[in-house]
């Protein structure tokens, strides 16, 4: 079986290497991907349409905002599925772990983490909010904020972290993120535009259409950040305790 796998893999490799001869050379500005009219339009018109300097955030949250909304929904469903797979079902009757991690929270670690976690959370929110101008955005800030909760769970135990962010609140926050995203889209639909067409929000708020797109992008990224934060922590909490939520890592 292993030999058959190796032969199949090598054949696929030969096929791919044969196809790799047709690729454009490295860094060619006239390659089909680099000179396509879509990307040229994105690069040239992002400033005019949305006044956002970061093109990647503009394309992610505005031009292709539909993809991002469903990606957020996918992350939410994955978190739901993980918790529901691990929660029910039969439990192992034998001793549960190969080695039990049994320790007291260390003094140095807990005090350092006590100082660091607020800084991490402020930085995560900065990354989220400043994603228009610098590299960053909703996903990066959300994951960093979720990682701060995982840090609390690692340096004390999971109970401490779950006392601050219990699992049902996790899912409430995650669902709230999707509601914010879809809510902004629906609001622009009710104001006469298409779904997620942020320029029509200028009818309600006293800004120009370009700045309406700017601010709606921030709202949308906040929604994404909520969902990703909650799901990353729920994922860690479920997986490290095998669904039981009792012992820590």
């Amino acid at each position: 079986m292993k030999r058959v796998a190796l032969i199949v893999v090598l054949l696929i490799g030969l096929l791919l290497a044969w196809a790799a001869r047709d690729f454009p050379s490295w860094g060619d500005p006239h390659a089909p991907a680099s000179s396509s009219p879509v990307s040229s339009h994105f690069i040239s018109s992002t400033g005019v349409d949305t006044e956002v300097p970061n093109m990647v955030t503009a394309v992610l949250a505005d031009y292709r905002g539909f993809d991002t909304m469903f990606e957020t929904v996918v992350v939410f469903i994955a978190g739901l599925a993980v918790v529901s797979i691990l929660r029910g079902g039969p439990r192992r009757r034998t001793r549960d772990r190969e080695f039990v991690v049994d320790f007291e929270p260390d003094l140095i670690v807990t005090n350092t983490v006590r100082l660091i976690v607020p800084v991490i959370q402020i930085f995560a929110f900065y990354v989220l909010a400043h994603g228009h101008v610098s590299p960053g955005g909703g996903f990066q800030g959300g994951v960093a904020m979720g990682a701060s909760f995982i840090l609390i769970a690692l340096s004390w135990d999971l109970k401490t972290a779950l006392a601050r962010f219990p699992l049902n609140r996790c899912f409430t926050v995650a669902a709230l993120g999707i509601v914010i995203y879809a809510g902004i889209g629906l609001l622009s639909m009710f104001l006469g535009g298409e779904f997620l067409d942020y320029a029509h929000l200028a009818r309600v708020f006293p800004v120009s259409p370009e700045m309406a797109r700017y601010h709606a992008m921030l709202g949308v990224e906040i929604g994404v950040g909520f969902t990703v934060t909650a799901i990353m922590f729920a994922l860690y909490a479920s997986l490290s305790t095998d669904g039981r939520m009792r012992d820590g890592l």
Partner: protein, 235 residues
């Protein structure tokens, strides 16, 4: 064989990057097929995913281009940048002309791959939860041990279909006698209902230790009340 323009030179010299991407893809693919441990398979899946993302991002690279964030002179909020340009460019946003466009890296592959990375981690989390569930049910995450246990379970289940269960419950004969009478009238019925009856009858009086997955699967059969059995056999 190593002269200019030949296959080896094309692959290994001019397009070395793409060749290494192909090698990474093959490593991930081979690990998903040939590795025994389920966690190693998942690591192979992640290697495969990140190699594909690497390939996609690298086809958007332009030589000598900067990152896809507007430089200060093209900045849409152009108030602080147009101090020295106030004769040629207007302050504020304007459409970038084509010569400047090639100075920025293509942002479209970055956007698509951002989605791919996040979906990849969601997939990894889900696959790890399934691994934990498998470990809870079978006690192992090695593929060959798993296949052995599944075959054993299948043979136990199918053995229960074909052969008759030995009746060795003399103490519980009274409790089972009612069921025996009701069930013996259906011995000629179809095999499936007969099997269901045999299972539920063999379990309810005594605490026979069957294999645990079989007993788990048959739990709904236990709770069916006895009086329904003739009706079930008739329908």
């Amino acid at each position: 064989m190593f002269e200019e323009g030949s296959i080896i030179s094309q692959l290994l010299v001019e397009r070395l990057n793409y060749f290494i991407y192909v090698v990474l893809l093959l490593i991930g693919l081979w690990a998903m097929i040939a590795k025994n441990n389920l966690i190693k398979k998942l690591i192979g899946m992640s290697i495969f995913q990140t190699a594909i993302i690497l390939f996609y991002v690298s086809i958007g690279v332009k030589e000598g281009a900067t990152i896809p964030i507007y430089l200060p002179e093209h900045d849409p909020h152009g108030s602080h940048a147009s101090a020295e340009h106030n004769d040629t460019t207007a302050s504020g946003p304007q459409v970038l002309e084509a010569s400047k466009v090639s100075g920025y890296t293509n942002p479209l592959p970055h956007v698509l791959m951002l989605t791919a990375i996040v979906v990849g981690v969601a997939t990894l989390g889900l696959a790890l939860s399934i691994c934990l569930r498998i470990y809870r049910g079978y006690g192992t995450v090695e593929e060959d041990d798993l296949l052995l246990k599944l075959e054993q379970e299948d043979s136990q289940n199918s053995g229960g279909f074909k052969k008759r269960r030995p009746r060795r419950r003399p103490s519980s004969a009274k409790a089972a006698s009612g069921a025996t009478r009701a069930a013996s009238s259906e011995k000629s019925k179809s095999e499936k209902t007969g099997q269901g009856n045999r299972r539920s009858r063999s379990k309810s009086p005594a605490k026979k230790s069957q294999s645990s997955p079989a007993s788990e699967g048959k739990k709904p059969a236990r709770r069916r009340p006895r009086s329904k059995k003739p009706k079930e056999g008739d329908s």
